[in-house]
């Protein structure tokens, strides 16, 4: 049961500031322009990055994207229905509840805007290892306590996922979740995870104190050399986005 490492690809070594700047620029342009064409272009630029990167885990990326998109779609569904709609706009109705053309248009527009944001953030998450994110946060003068908590929480989430998988296997090997005690067995799993996490936290505490921990997680990170064209590609992509967005705003 080896977890997948999503950061083993050629975008990993690109400077984190470049990736963060491109991500923020894309988000801002996507939200500011509101045009589907701009948002589609942004997605295409990110897609090119994904396709170019050797070792990028595209299958995992798109699976995660699908789940998140469906989640957003379900969350936006209530926006489809309205009560006071002009008759000429109604597409379908049940009693006093209507689905109108404008609500469908609004839903699709909003969903696509959210989808663009999710796409951008997922590309950033998949291309940027956590230690680069931590480094960026430190440079942005985020309080050390917050950064340290982020390090520990991320580490523990991963550990707990692995642990819960093992415990679940152990339960299923003993015919759990086959009868009418599923909720009780799930509760036992959660309790077990909670107890083990307490124990593991205690051991981690002992380990860091044994290495003279004084309240601050000081770490060095490896210096990696990005493929030469990678940084340039990000900058070019950013410039293209700006030019096209400005052009669109000018036309409008």
């Amino acid at each position: 049961m080896n977890p997948v490492n999503p950061h083993n690809h050629s975008l990993r070594a690109v400077r984190p500031e470049t990736k963060a700047a491109f991500m923020l620029l894309s988000l801002v342009l996507s939200l500011a322009s509101g045009q589907i064409v701009t948002q589609g272009l942004i997605i295409c630029m990110h897609l090119l990055l994904i396709l170019w990167a050797n070792g990028f885990r595209r299958q995992h990326f798109f699976k995660l994207l699908l789940v998140q998109s469906l989640f957003v779609a379900v969350g936006l569904l209530p926006a489809l229905f309205s009560l006071n709609t002009p008759q000429q706009d109604v597409l379908w109705q049940l009693g006093g509840i209507h689905i109108s053309q404008s609500s469908v248009h609004l839903l699709m527009h909003t969903w696509f805007r959210c989808f663009t944001g999710i796409f951008i953030l997922n590309v950033f998450a998949f291309s940027t290892p956590v230690y680069q994110t931590v480094e960026l946060l430190r440079r942005c003068k985020v309080p050390e306590t917050v950064v340290d908590l982020l390090i520990l929480i991320y580490n523990n989430i991963r550990l707990l996922f692995c642990l819960s998988e093992q415990m679940l296997l152990a339960q299923k090997s003993r015919l759990a979740y086959t009868g009418n005690r599923n909720y009780r067995q799930a509760a036992q799993l959660l309790t077990g995870i909670f107890l083990v996490s307490l124990l593991k936290s205690q051991r981690l505490q002992q380990n860091v104190e044994a290495r003279c921990y004084d309240g601050c997680f000081r770490l060095l990170e490896p210096q990696e050399t990005a493929p030469r064209f990678a940084n340039v590609m990000y900058v070019l992509a950013g410039l293209v986005l700006i030019v096209i967005t400005v052009f669109q705003l000018y036309i409008r």
């Binding site: 977890p3 290892p129 390090i151 380990n207 860091v208 044994a210 290495r211 003279c212 000081r218």
Partner: protein, 275 residues
């Protein structure tokens, strides 16, 4: 005799739940000694190790390191932990950095080394433990043997005087175990004091300068491996087995047991072949 590196007198410790983990422990360890601590599960080995770098404070007794009494103040403990490295058994509970490089640099940076010096230590340790190709990997995603190496390296980067290992070979395949043994031999040749707990009496016989048997929180026996580990009845009463080499040696006819007891298979072969 030189002043002992580690000098423990009358050490006792009881956990908050009530179980007395250590009772009246007296122990002296010289610099450069190789100590094997044997005992069944729950005998107090891990508790003793946590005492050695001040992670647990004894209820009674005195602990002196390199001639200086440990007062359990923060400065004392920091100074102690720079010189005594305790590597516990389970590597999965002990990583928090996102790269092996980060994990190896944590200790040196906490010791106050500059970033350049810490980076140099990381390079040295990674070369020594063959971790150079793992530096950018996440420690949690490594194989068990690799995790053990990274964990050991995380402490060796602090250049301790004493290395304490809690069952370092547990879960390792034969190749990794052999590599680890060779590492410990190299460290010992450089003057490091090494204390490890093990259930493998055969390895303790071959490797250790002195063997200590812990049982229910007390030191029951301590001495040369060939003497302590030759007493089968005593070992079994503490839940341990006599090493196979000594079992075979004990099975030789009495008139052939004139040689000093062998410590490994090679010595046993020499005894048998000289008959």
């Amino acid at each position: 005799m030189n002043q002992p590196m580690i000098d423990i007198q009358g050490l006792s410790f009881r956990y908050p739940e009530g179980n007395e983990a250590l009772h009246n422990i007296d122990l002296s360890i010289q610099q450069g000694e190789r100590i094997a601590v044997l005992g069944s599960n729950g005998s107090g080995k891990s508790t003793l190790f946590l005492m050695l770098n001040g992670l647990l404070k004894p209820d009674s007794g005195c602990y002196c390191f390199d001639g200086k009494k440990i007062n359990y103040k923060k400065a004392d403990l920091t100074a102690l932990r720079k010189r005594v490295a305790v590597v516990m058994q389970d590597p999965d509970s002990q990583f928090f950095a996102h790269t092996v490089y980060g994990e190896l640099s944590f200790g040196p940076l906490n010791m106050g080394l500059s970033r350049n010096n810490a980076a140099q230590r990381v390079e040295e340790v990674s070369q020594r433990l063959n971790l150079a190709n793992l530096l950018t990997r996440q420690p949690q995603l490594l194989s068990f043997g690799q995790k053990k190496r990274v964990l050991t390296g995380a402490f060796l980067s602090m250049k301790p005087d004493v290395l304490v290992l809690d069952e370092p070979f547990a879960g390792l395949d034969p190749q990794h175990a052999t590599n680890f043994r060779e590492l410990l031999d190299r460290l010992h040749n450089e003057g490091m004091t090494i204390i490890q707990s093990t259930h493998d009496t055969g390895y303790a016989l071959e490797w250790a300068d002195r063997v200590i048997i812990l049982h229910e929180g007390k030191i029951m026996e301590a001495g040369h491996p060939t003497v302590i580990l030759n007493n089968e009845a005593m070992l079994q009463s503490f839940g341990l087995n006599r090493p196979t080499v000594l079992d075979i040696y004990a099975g030789l006819p009495l008139h052939l047991q004139t040689y000093s007891a062998p410590r490994n298979v090679e010595e046993l072969k020499q005894i048998i072949s000289s008959i």
